[in-house]
Symmetry: C2
Subunit: 259 residues, 2 copies
DNA sequence: TAGTGGTCTAGACCACAAC
DNA sequence: TTGTGGTCTAGACCACTAA
């Protein structure tokens, strides 16, 4: 078992807080690396001379912080190091579209991981209020809804839902499962809507149970949400893309002038 | 006490899961609104006929989801709806600095809430590795470290730590508690470092216990982290600002061209 | 002072994983 | 079969809040 300090009974902090701190320190110092198993609950109860519930409370702290995850019958493990992907603002550069690459795939190629898309579901439906507002249409107006899930090295990392007013999608591959080289944005440009700018709204929250399942997230793991609105050169919003990303897998990078 | 179904002993779900589900449903259905107190632990143990730890585990679930927060000696309360603030990219526009406003205060004025800054702590110290790398200096080189906490309407919402190489700060108010009109960036520009661009790296994670205390976050509430690097017109990184924001209080908005 | 949540003990039985 | 974590019981004492 790894080296862990004993409890300091003169410390005003509760024993479970001290135990959690000792384990956290061991992880941060690298004595416990990604994927390593923590000492078992019975080892910890003996080492610290406390009841099992006290040890479990310490571990609960670390789970809530997203540092560790437990596997029934196997043990408690340090969460694997995040495969951090930087999504630079350039990821939507037109040159990628001209070369036939969609943004997620272009980024994957650069960062050296294997990207996949699955669960593609395309349908026409009435627009929900939040995307309708951003598109400048009325809630309930018909839109093409494209849902898909992105995987990196086989792990699900992002859920995305795009909303495109039917008028902009008619007669294009946007209504197909496979949108062809360059993806949705290439098709919109061909259809007379050259893109000028994007607006992204970034926030974070805890996932819903459905999102937890789809992204295979343990408890205590937050998600990043990004709502991107694409505008054409006429200033018209042509697409809203609502994404939910596993927070551990992403760092979003933005570059902007000081003016 | 509000209406709650009894346990279903034929249900395969654990009692604490059923109790959590019943309380969650009461919140979502509006029988328990924001700020309302949940039934006390003793009321719930009697109602469901279970041990106190079982009830506490159910409440722990809801805390992890960010639905409720507990107050020692008072009770467990449904969390109030978030007050969302948008921080547009323009918040660092030079015009604000010229008018003598720092970014946070300029944003507050626009959005109509009362902003405060407290716990300002300024010191000189060796640079930790992450900011040093972004500043293009060696870890351990001396930097001015400015720590502060931002409050909106009296609630703490953000912790910020800035790192400025001593060479850029010498002889300026950057080493003072009060940096004067326009803040750090105005002083850097006066000192011969006109700002050209910013890079922000955005991510989300669960807070550390210290961050939880400083931001008065319940367990199960994530934070947004933003690391901003400021570059002058010579392409030199002149400041790194590391911020931790209460996720419920922020939506970050970015605007960028399609190129 | 009464009621609330916070922490802790010392057991118990169960489900799951690995040998 | 052994060891792991998951769930639960029935108590205990403490710290905080409000009347």
């Amino acid at each position: 078992m790894i080296q862990l300090d004993q409890l300091d009974r003169s410390d005003h902090r509760a024993p479970y807080v001290q135990i959690a701190a000792a384990l956290r320190e061991a992880i941060n110092a690298g004595r416990l690396g990604p994927g390593d198993r923590l000492p078992s609950e019975s080892e910890l109860t003996q080492h610290y001379g406390v009841a099992r519930m006290t040890v479990r409370q310490a571990i609960q702290e670390l789970k809530t912080e997203g540092l560790v995850m437990s596997e029934h019958g196997r043990g408690v493990f340090v969460r694997a190091a995040p495969v951090v992907r930087r999504l630079a603002s350039e990821r939507f550069a037109r040159q990628h579209r001209e070369r036939g690459k969609a943004a997620f795939l272009a980024e994957a190629e650069k960062a050296g991981y294997v990207a996949n898309v699955d669960s593609i579901h395309v349908r026409q439906a009435p627009a929900p209020a939040p995307p309708a507002e951003r598109l400048g249409i009325k809630a309930g107006d018909p839109v093409i809804v494209r849902e898909r899930r992105y995987l990196a090295n086989g792990e699900p990392v992002e859920l995305a839902t795009s909303y495109i007013p039917v008028d902009f999608a008619r007669g294009t591959a946007i209504t197909e499962n496979d949108t062809g080289p360059g993806g949705i944005y290439a098709r919109l440009e061909e259809a007379g809507h050259p893109l000028e700018r994007f607006v992204e709204e970034v926030a974070a929250r805890m996932p819903t149970p459905a999102e937890r399942r789809a992204l295979q997230l343990g408890p205590g793991v937050p998600v990043l949400t990004v709502v991107r609105t694409a505008f054409d050169t006429a200033g018209q919003a042509v697409e809203v893309c609502d994404t939910v990303k596993a927070a551990y897998a992403y760092v979003l990078e933005y570059d902007f002038p000081a003016r």
